[in-house]
């Protein structure tokens, strides 16, 4: 166990090192940060002075050595835009992203398990077919489109005038299909509760939760269909296996067979995929957070790219690398708990 964790720690360090080298190597292609810091009419001589002061004229190796020397001491440099240490900027934006990912994960778990199990048990029922059909659409629609449609329907509202308003049924149908909107369409709202340090939470107030709903739903919309289909496929396979047949033959109630014996084995691959996907979700937050102006890491990263805020970009990439390593480690640990036959250190059992 300890050996496993140490090994993973080494992984994390290696990942951070490789990412930082790569990020530094491409920084010249990210744009000129000085361009973003000065007015259009500022003469070249002034720009050169700023470049010199920021050390942007030094050769690659000198810049990298300086960065690496500070980074091992925990100093990842100053963000040009936020005028603060890059690590602090990320720490401030992290809670918003984590809450969003948490809410989306919750939605995925709450919906994917029952729907997946149901459509595995009753693959031919019309409801199952509907779910499968919708999930295909869900996988194919890009997240920003989902987000914009959600905003139009639930934040702005739509008035349907498709049916004749002067007939009773037409008016009723129009009203039936129209929505009022009024859901918040951007930001975290003005009603946040401070938990500790720089963690303000959306989860403690009604207003905060309302702000969380649309971004969380659109973030969940990418992964939810995937999980429904995964759980369905795994469950159907498990239901074919000998031990399930045996359990049924023994006369155990179907409910117990489905939810205790079958589901447990279904969840094994789901946990593996799920853990990795949560990492991927951090990447998807970039799109979701941009559309909803959700002030988390994703939005911050996109802004940093647009501003060529290189220290912040490098630090963000390194942190995301670590998040991936950490989630994978946690997944492996959980996997070991669920399936004791797996040996973490990877030696043959």
């Amino acid at each position: 166990m300890i050996a496993f964790l140490i090994k993973r720690l080494m992984h994390a360090i290696l990942v951070m090192f490789v990412i930082s080298v790569l990020a530094f190597a491409i920084q010249d292609n990210l744009g000129d940060p000085v361009q973003q810091m000065v007015g259009q009419s500022v003469p070249e001589s002034e720009r050169e002075e700023i470049r010199e002061r920021l050390g942007l004229n030094d050769p690659f190796l000198v810049q990298y050595a300086r960065f690496a020397k500070n980074a091992v001491q925990g100093d990842f440099g100053y963000s040009y835009f936020y005028r603060e240490p890059a690590l602090e900027v990320i720490a401030r934006h992290l809670p918003a992203t984590l809450e969003l990912v948490f809410a989306a994960t919750l939605i995925i778990v709450l919906f994917s398990v029952p729907i997946g199990v149901y459509s595995a048990i009753k693959p031919r029922s019309p409801i199952s077919r509907l779910f499968m059909g919708v999930s295909i659409i869900g996988i194919s629609i890009p997240v920003f489109l989902t987000a914009i449609v959600l905003i139009q329907i639930f934040a702005i509202g739509v008035t349907v005038t498709l049916f004749p308003e002067n007939t009773g049924w037409g008016a009723w149908l129009n009203a039936f299909f129209s929505t009022e909107g009024n859901m918040p369409s951007f930001g975290r709202g003005y009603d946040l509760v401070n938990v500790v340090g720089n963690w303000d939470t959306n989860l403690a107030t009604w207003n905060g939760l309302q702000h969380l709903v649309l971004p969380a739903v659109s973030l969940a919309s990418i992964m939810l269909p995937l999980f429904i289909r995964l759980i369905r496929a795994e469950m159907m396979e498990v239901l074919q296996s000998e031990y399930v047949k045996y359990a049924r033959a023994k006369g155990i109630s179907m409910r117990r067979v489905y939810f205790v014996h079958a589901l447990k084995n279904t969840m094994l691959p789901v946990i593996t995929v799920g853990g990795v996907q949560i990492g991927t979700m951090v990447a998807y937050t970039i799109l979701t957070e941009t559309v909803f102006q959700w002030p988390g890491m994703g939005l911050m990263f996109l802004d940093a790219i647009n501003r060529a805020d290189i220290p912040l970009i490098v630090t963000y990439l390194m942190i995301v690398g670590v998040i991936f390593v950490v989630t994978n480690t946690i997944v492996d640990l959980i996997y070991g708990l669920v399936n004791p036959t797996v040996k973490l250190t990877g030696k043959p059992a």
């Binding site: 292609n29 990210l30 744009g31 000129d32 361009q35 810091m37 000065v38 007015g39 259009q40 009419s41 500022v42 003469p43 070249e44 001589s45 002034e46 002075e49 002061r53 920021l54 100053y78 040009y80 835009f81 936020y82 005028r83 603060e84 914009i148 449609v149 959600l150 905003i151 139009q152 329907i153 639930f154 934040a155 702005i156 509202g157 739509v158 008035t159 349907v160 005038t161 498709l162 039936f176 299909f177 129209s178 929505t179 009022e180 909107g181 009024n182 918040p184 369409s185 951007f186 930001g187 003005y190 941009t290 559309v291 102006q293 002030p295 939005l299 911050m300 802004d303 647009n306 501003r307």
Partner: protein, 526 residues
Amino acid sequence: MTFKKTLLASVIGAVVAGTTLLPMTASAETLRIGYSADPETLDLHEQLSGGVLRFSHLAFDPLVRWTKDFQFEPRLATEWEQVDETTMRMTLREGVTFHSGNEFTAKDVVWTIERLKESPDYRAIFEPVASAEAVDDYTVEIVTTEPYPLLLNLATYIFPMDSEFYTGETDDGSDKAEIVKAGNSFASRNVSGTGPFIVTDRRQGVRVDFERFEDYWDTESEGNVSNIIMTPIAENASRVAALLSGGVDFIDAVPPNDLDRVREADGVNLIEIDGTRIIGFQMNEERVEAFQDARVRQAVDLAINQEGIADRLMRGFANPAGQFSPEGYSGHNPDLTPRYDIERAKELMAEAGYEEGFSVEMIAPNNRYVNDAQIAQAVANMLAQINIKVDLRTMPLAQYWPEYDTRESDMAMIGWHADTEDSANFFQYLTFCIDEETGAGQYNYGSYCNEEIDALVTEADSETDLEKRNEMLREAEAMLYEDVGFIMLHWQNLAYAAADGVEAEPVVNAIDFPYLGDLVVKSSDD
């Protein structure tokens, strides 16, 4: 709303075309703004940018400011007179206090001008100012190195700062007055101005909160906004959605694709303003020999249908241009209009010996100006008609300027807004013969050089008789029009949108700095 209804609505809503939007109400007193960008810093002199200047008009007041029709309106300076050729005496407003409680006097103006001359972003603009001196508490004299006709234009950038507040040392021993680019200076985090609003909270990139300054000097202003919450919303669609859903009351930069939607929506009003930013192309004479021939440059100009671009591509959200100066500017020459004529263009190409045409590379940004990449594409197609084959590359802003600075393409797109709101500025940056010593022609991508025009504009810039000066600038525009030193496309419009009751129309202007201190909000139940 039941879940079932919601689900149905979401399926239907996505496909139904015949939808309209529902009304919403403006909340009174507190104004929630969604701007495309927030101020990069609170230090006015750290960065010359739209975001910082908008902020300047909230927390500070300039000596004078522009009216909607480009006249000067007294603010902290109440009167001004030219004492001699190089000296202007300004009388300052009395009874003005800073947010810190300090009284505003002439020493603050002098201090601010001296700081402007230290600022990397303003140093060049304030080059003509030699010195400023306090005659008494409410009189200041500004001396220029030479006779300079644009001193009042510069005065719109002088937002007196609280010299006492910004003097001294911080706890960690740095100078409170220092200007640090992208650094954590005192002035970038602390504010004391004379403006209508005090900054109460700021989370960079997330929101800025303002509260009305109780002791604001302008008691005659009808502005009744007591609090402002400003959220930067960079994504166009999200900004519009935030307004339509009632999440904010006022937005800037409505994208052309959403103009109709906002115009027709209930409960919100669209405000369009003719802008002053010229969009155009520069031809690189260093790389393409053909562009050194005025006939080829004319042919390029004639082949481009400015009206078509403004009408169709921009959906009327631009005014086609034949010169740098928009209407209202000193050098605007009403005779110079776009002259699309494809036949004449072909003739000129033939005359110049380029009937067969040639190939050029073109670069354009894809997220800087309204529809920039599409405009470049359209221009490329138009040039194909006179056998100029264009290889177009578009790129995001962060990469565009470094690429532009290398001058390694044959044609480049640029948009330019004159910081001085004056015609000469366009020439000095975009078409003056390049001179690295003086910085002239800093954005002259194509190394175009016409010494006659340069001489005329330079002369105009020391002509203090404004009527004479305007005449000279109009002449310079006409000469450039003939010689085609720059391909003019259009002036890009500005669009704001506000919820019902937010009477934004009187306080927005072509300079793009809304004077929110004077904004009147009528609550919906009045």
